[in-house]
């Protein structure tokens, strides 16, 4: 609690004790004091607990703020005094202040829990000057400087490790709890915590452009993009309060004029209206839900750029994926070895040796698959035939490794029996076919599960777009269970495909595009919601997308959809609950069933319940 809150608490407790003492005294010995003394005595706890409300009411009237909640509470309680309901007036003011205090504490707590979440701003950077380590503001470090990050410190700027090995805790950025090992030559990004060793890092970017600055900027700005529900509430509040106040006025004046009862009774009922007229429950709890949803998501490494995107994500109906780098790893690996005449290991070894001096991604994947690496001295002559493969002399024998064109060129005959999808490398020794190796892109771990979860979360259709061949596209789509595949697309075609899908989607459905943020900025911005993944260290992705998954774990996507749906559910619950209670109490007050206690509950009680409901979002999973 802050100082201000503690002061309010003291006032509430003092007033409550006085109030209860007075109540007791009045009940036990009503005749001890003359009748007029009681209201004067009740004024003491009323003044203690409510003076600031009265003061603010007067001040705000001067500023022309008529429908201010302080003013309404002041009129309602002073009115109750006027009607002779002294204990009620004090109790209502007490209850109101308790509610306000509770709200303020709850909101503070939510703010703190979220700012703790986003507490990734580095305070200082260690830099070597004249042989001594000094702490400087990260903003003062320039590109090319070498900073030292000790164990337990936060990496202040993006850069490359020059020396040292360590493991980094990236949880604050990605939600991933497994530490990541780094060594000399690796890139490190700001915001991670160095767990074990000392790292010397050469800075690549000024602080303003670092990952941490970008993320903080994004999170801080997310509250300025408001969801439709938030704007609706603001607008609603603008009409609701004046409407209820005028209704109160009418209720106080019209029925008695029409001879439907005494003035006092109708004025009392009208005062209830004033108490219910504040829209606080909604005005606080709806933004709090979105705030909590965005905060809860960022705890999982999902950055949402605004409440509007969270709202849209809750209605995700079609999810479109880019293939390479999103559904697949984007790296090539040997997936099958089909030898003829020789053993599997031998075939792989032959290919690896022949490809030894090639730097093609395909060669590299064969080298990687052949462990331990064979002795390169066995290769005596190697020549790359562009677009075909390689020709080399291994152990004195002429080895060919390459595609079908290479085999055709050297008139090597073989039967094409392979049913695997991918790039195929054929191997021949001294003109005799030895077999082939299949290399393909690997489907990401968890991709299948992620797609299943998306469906379970309510997504109607999943679509894959790829520039790859039809065969590869179909194979991946079949393996993962996608509903639709569009292959052999040029980058521009992807936008057209998304346009087509947008035209055919349902009226309340939103289209989500998921890409790795590289080369797909036009599609990301064309979709209703653009999601970029694997964004750690990629500025382009952070800028182009509406929602950013910090690491490249596809399973975060269904998590994001679930959080969005939960947020919207809570928002709807709060709207319905608050409005229902308020209107019910208004009606019951008008007919004289509800007293001021009901009205206070409909105001502060509902606020507190709605806030508690919203706070559930802070722990969203």
């Amino acid at each position: 609690m802050t100082k201000k809150q503690k002061k309010t608490r003291t006032r509430i407790v003092t007033a409550l004790v006085l109030f209860l003492a007075l109540e007791l005294a009045e009940h036990l010995a009503p005749d001890v004091l003359p009748g007029l003394a009681w209201p004067v005595l009740y004024l003491i706890p009323y003044g203690i607990v409510g003076w600031d409300v009265l003061w603010r009411a007067v001040r705000n009237i001067k500023n022309g703020q008529v429908f201010d909640e302080n003013f309404l509470m002041a009129v309602a309680t002073v009115g109750a005094f006027g009607c002779g309901e002294y204990p009620e007036a004090v109790a209502v003011m007490l209850f109101y202040q308790v509610g306000e205090l509770f709200q303020s504490v709850a909101v503070d707590r939510s703010r703190k829990s979220i700012s703790a979440l986003m507490d990734i701003r580095p305070d200082y950077a260690n830099i070597e000057r004249n042989g001594e380590l000094v702490q400087v503001d990260p903003e003062e470090v320039s590109v090319g400087d070498v900073i030292v990050v000790k164990a337990g410190e936060r990496v202040p700027l993006d850069g490359t490790v020059l020396e040292g090995t360590s493991s980094l805790d990236t949880a604050a950025l990605t939600g991933e709890s497994l530490p990541r090992d780094v060594q000399a030559g690796d890139e490190v990004i700001s915001g991670c915590v160095n767990l074990t060793g000392v790292l010397h890092v050469k800075v690549n970017k000024p602080f303003g452009e670092s990952t941490v600055a970008k993320i903080l900027d994004l999170v801080e700005n997310s509250s300025s993009k408001k969801a439709k529900a938030e704007n609706f509430i603001t607008k609603f509040a603008r009409y609701y309060t004046p409407a209820v106040v005028f209704a109160a006025l009418a209720l106080a004046v019209l029925p008695p004029l029409l001879g439907m009862g005494p003035w006092l009774m109708w004025v009392q009922r009208a005062l209830n209206f004033l108490v219910v007229s504040c829209p606080c429950a909604l005005v606080i709890s709806i933004p709090l839900s979105f705030f909590g949803g965005i905060g809860g998501a960022s705890k999982q490494g999902i950055l949402v750029k605004g409440g509007n995107y969270l709202e849209a994500l809750a209605q995700a109906g079609i999810v479109v994926f880019d293939k390479t780098g999103t559904l697949t790893r984007g790296t090539f690996e040997v997936t099958a070895v089909h030898p003829q005449q020789v053993g599997e290991g031998e075939l792989l070894e032959l290919a690896a040796l022949a490809e030894r001096f090639s730097d093609h991604p395909i060669s590299r994947s064969i080298q990687a698959a052949c462990q331990p690496a064979p002795d390169p001295a066995r290769v005596t002559d190697a020549k790359e035939i562009a677009g075909h493969g390689v020709q080399a002399v291994v152990d004195g024998k002429a080895v060919l490794a390459g595609n079908q064109k290479l085999m055709d060129q050297f008139r090597i005959s073989f039967e094409d029996t392979c049913h695997h999808v991918g790039t195929i490398i054929h191997v021949a020794v001294d003109g005799v076919y030895m077999g082939h190796i299949v290399i393909s892109d690997q489907v990401k771990e968890g991709a299948e599960e992620a797609l299943r979860d998306l469906k379970a979360a309510g997504v109607r259709k999943t679509v894959m777009l790829t520039g790859d061949s039809q065969a590869v596209g179909q194979a991946v789509a079949g393996q993962l269970g996608l509903d639709e595949v569009h292959a052999e697309l040029l980058p521009g075609d992807k936008v057209d495909q998304v346009e087509g899908l947008l035209q055919n989607k349902g009226p309340k459905e939103q289209l989500v595009f998921v890409g790795d943020g590289i080369n797909d900025a036009p599609v990301l911005s064309r979709a209703d919601i653009g999601v970029a993944m694997g964004a750690m260290g990629s500025d382009a992705a952070i800028e182009a997308a509406d929602i950013v998954l910090m690491d490249d774990d596809l399973k975060k996507l269904p998590v994001a959809v679930r959080i969005a749906r939960k947020t919207l559910r809570i928002v709807r619950e709060n709207i319905v609950f608050a409005l229902a209670v308020k209107f019910l109490v208004l009606i019951l007050s008008a007919v004289g069933v509800a007293n001021m206690w009901w009205a206070v509950f409909a105001d502060v009680g509902v606020s507190v319940i709605a806030i508690l409901n919203s706070m559930r979002m802070l722990n969203a999973k």
């Binding site: 022309g64 703020q65 909640e69 979220i114 408001k226």
Partner: protein, 73 residues
């Protein structure tokens, strides 16, 4: 130009909404947002009138909630 300001002692959510509505009405303001949760005011306004807009926004906010202070940097 778009700029964000910190707000101190913004205690009432309804006031935040009122401030936002009032600031949006200031001449030259393209967009404005007052976030009760992050206690921040974002103003997007014409470059030429920006300082005047900010001055006016401070005045408007004082009217709605005199206890609340906007930190100008």
């Amino acid at each position: 130009m778009k700029k964000t300001f910190k707000m101190i002692d913004l205690d009432c959510a309804n006031c935040a909404a009122k401030m936002e509505a009032a600031i949006k009405k200031i001449d030259g303001v393209q967009d404005a947002a007052v976030s009760f949760m992050t206690q921040k005011l974002t103003i997007q306004a014409d470059d030429a009138r920006f300082d005047a807009v900010v001055q006016e926004a401070v005045k408007v906010c004082k009217k709605v909630e005199p206890d609340c202070e906007i930190v100008l940097k």
